[in-house]
């Protein structure tokens, strides 16, 4: 099930009704049961049999967490390590099988063909379970945190299952930590108008970003992107297309997150933010503090942190290698294709170079306005180049696309591109507002203005929606 569907509207209304009746304190058992069942229905809506996968991986992690954290039966370090390994192996094994199995087999086929063997490697042809990358990471973080002693294991499997399967964030994040969510289940949260209206505002803005901006931009991007692979394509049009895709993916993903967070608020839960105006980032480090915040935080704490260990001093070259590897894995997380690996590597390399130059610190000459402005342009250009790899059908087509851009062969911008630009305007305005807000150029928007803006967005959702498209991040 996804948010832009009538089935979701029905599910939402059922849960809202439950919140207003059964769940006025949010901690009632009957209300939590409704949430739990709704979450399982939400997930099973796509492919019912995959519910077994979700239940299986959560059961493994719940058992592992219980095994690790029992104070009456302390485990030896070896036992603890084995329990953690079992949990991670199960999670990563399932993820690898469904997500990377065919990619590995295809790569093997290419290798064999390149070596002169004619053997044909059959593909598994498994349909990717929706949201597997998200809920797997979420579930793994629980076991790792219990292992590290950061949190106590949860006693109730139902509560653990609710944490992993909570439908607002189940299939496309944000990736919520157990330490953020589990305590909320037991904490009463009375119905409050402010939380309700804030949730409603987030949901409306999310639907606006997705249905009006992302879906309309997708029409232009999908219709013209492949023109960029042909020799002699107009550079201006391609730059415009890349910008449109950059806006499309932001609106798609940030829109989903807003709906998820708004839904969470209305149901009595706080879900962390996942985006914070990423296209005003002045450094690569800052970009990853603003884009898919929960993923970059996960990678920092569980991959980079694990590689780096607890040593106080790590040789600088090793640190750079860990950073690059973490970002490559982050790219691979997005999809089983070389373009995602290249995308991750590009960002990894950019972060390493930025660290080498010490630019993110902004001290000395690095803090000069011209240097900062110049680096901002570099950052956003590299982000845009990365999006070309992200969107393209393969490494070679992406390279052709970029070669056409680099040829700087411009003709007059066509009307179609101008028309598509209308849907980028909200992204520009949103970022400009955030930029001004952070520099105290504007005060926080008064509630009545926010409400009026919500009214405008709601109207536009009804009268300017694009064709219904699946959320891009659902494929992860």
């Amino acid at each position: 099930m996804h948010f832009v569907s009538w089935a979701f509207i029905v599910l939402f209304l059922v849960n809202l009704a439950a919140r207003l009746t059964l769940g006025r304190r949010k901690t009632e058992g009957s209300y939590l049961l409704v949430l739990g069942v709704s979450s399982l229905v939400f997930y099973a809506w796509h492919i019912p049999v995959y519910l077994c996968l979700l239940v299986f991986t959560t059961a493994v992690d719940y058992v592992a967490g219980s095994y690790l954290g029992r104070p009456d039966r302390p485990r030896t370090p070896l036992q603890r390590k084995l329990a953690l390994i079992a949990s991670l192996t199960c999670n990563l094994g399932v993820l690898s099988l469904f997500k990377y199995g065919d990619f590995a087999l295809r790569s093997l086929q290419e290798l064999l063909s390149g070596a002169g063997f004619s053997a044909s490697v059959p593909e598994l042809g498994l349909l990717l379970p929706m949201g597997i990358s998200f809920y797997t990471f979420q579930s793994m973080s629980y076991t790792i945190d219990v292992y590290r002693g950061s949190i106590e294991p949860v006693r109730s499997y139902r509560r653990y299952l609710l944490f992993v399967s909570f439908f607002p964030q189940l299939v496309a994040g944000p990736i919520v930590r157990a330490s953020e969510f589990l305590p909320q289940i037991a904490r009463p949260r009375q119905l409050r108008m402010q939380a309700f209206t804030e949730g409603a505002y987030l949901m409306v803005s999310g639907f606006f970003l997705k249905m009006v901006c992302a879906d309309n931009l997708a029409v232009f991007v999908d219709a013209h992107w492949e023109d960029g692979y042909a020799t002699g394509a107009d550079s201006g049009v391609l730059i415009w297309l890349a910008l449109m895709f950059g806006c499309q993916i932001f609106c798609d993903f940030a829109g989903y997150t807003n709906i998820a967070r708004g839904l969470g608020y209305m149901l009595g839960f706080r879900i962390p933010a996942n985006f914070n105006a990423p296209y005003i980032a002045g450094s690569f480090m800052n970009f990853w503090q603003r884009w898919h915040i929960t993923l970059s935080r996960w990678l920092r704490d569980y991959v980079y942190g694990a590689l780096r260990g607890t040593r106080r001093r790590v040789p600088i070259r090793k640190m750079y290698a860990y950073l690059l590897l973490t970002m490559v894995l982050g790219g691979l997380w997005h999809g089983a294709a070389y373009t995602f690996i290249v995308w991750g590597a590009l960002h990894g390399l950019a972060l390493v170079i930025e660290r080498m130059l010490g630019i993110q610190g902004g001290s000395g000459w690095r803090g000069h306005p011209l240097v900062r402005a110049g680096w901002f342009v570099v950052v956003q250009t590299v982000v845009l180049v990365g999006w070309v790899f992200f969107r393209s059908d393969g490494f070679v087509p992406a390279a052709r696309f970029l070669a056409n851009v680099a040829a700087l062969d411009f003709s007059a911008p066509n009307a179609v591109m101008w028309e598509g630009s209308v849907y980028m305007l909200p992204v520009v305005l949103m970022h400009a507002w955030k930029f001004a807000e952070e520099r105290r150029g504007v005060l926080e928007m008064p509630p009545v203005f926010k409400a009026a803006l919500a009214g405008v967005m709601l109207y536009l959702v009804a009268t300017a929606y694009g064709s219904t498209n699946a959320f891009i991040y659902f494929q992860f």
């Binding site: 009538w6 009214g455 709601l458 109207y459 009268t463 300017a464 219904t468």
Partner: protein, 319 residues
Amino acid sequence: MAVALVTSLALVGASALAWRQTPLSHRRLDIADAARPRPAGSYYLAYDRGGHVDHHILYHGIDRTALANMKAADVLFLGNSRLMWVLTRLEVRRFFFDYGLSFYALGFGHDEEDEFAEALIQRHDLRPKLAIVNVDGFFTGRRSEWAHRVMADGAWDAVKLQFEAEAAHAARRALHRVVPHWGDLYKRNREFVIYRSRTDGTWFVGTEFGEGSRFQEPPEESDAGELQLALREARRFKAEMERRGTKLVFCYVSNARESRRLAEFLARELDVPLVAPRVAGLRTIDGSHLARESAERFTRAFFAELRGILGPPDWQVSR
């Protein structure tokens, strides 16, 4: 919350007024104006802006009435939307009523090809007495991208798709009677709104397209390779249908894109009767689908030729 709702309603009111009281009133939206078939329960949504729905419904057999009628039909029509367009006429029903035969229009939009039709026939084990096949673009040995998706999906996916399509259709119909979709209004986008009969599979086209424009059938040139490929596929298809006890008749519906040469070639090579009337002064709405008046004239000529192939109905012979 109240401010947000008031703002939305104010914008709705203002745009509804603007749409009705300004020159914008000359621009219409098909979703708001499209006719509905009667009785409503005998039809389901086949196609609108959201895409095709009938492929899933028929392939996965999720509508029991449609499935039963399809299986019981003595005559099946197969082919693309050009054929389905002319089969919307009352003429079809009258014709087969005379023969005491039941029929089912099993053509599809999206330029659906023989692979999908054959897969559907095998899936539901259809064994009609007669299959009338619109040849243009049919015998390719391929299936469309949409057919790939339909066949990869399961029955549950078909149920979900139908639910979402019907709900969205109803909501959009109601909404855009009051406020326009600005993008469609500005670009004057046309929308095919098509319902499909559960009884006989014929289409009810809700959108009014007007008189259309004249066209000429394209010159009778065909690629030799394409002819041979089509012949190979048609031969295989004929063998499969004969195995099911089904006789074949080929047909060709006049249009501006594909010539009748392929139909004539296949009919001759496979010794299959061909229905391909030449009717003067036809008009299409888009170069492919006949305008309403032209479709009626074409259908009359079509069934007159078909009557010549089938012979008079038994009750006429016995008189």
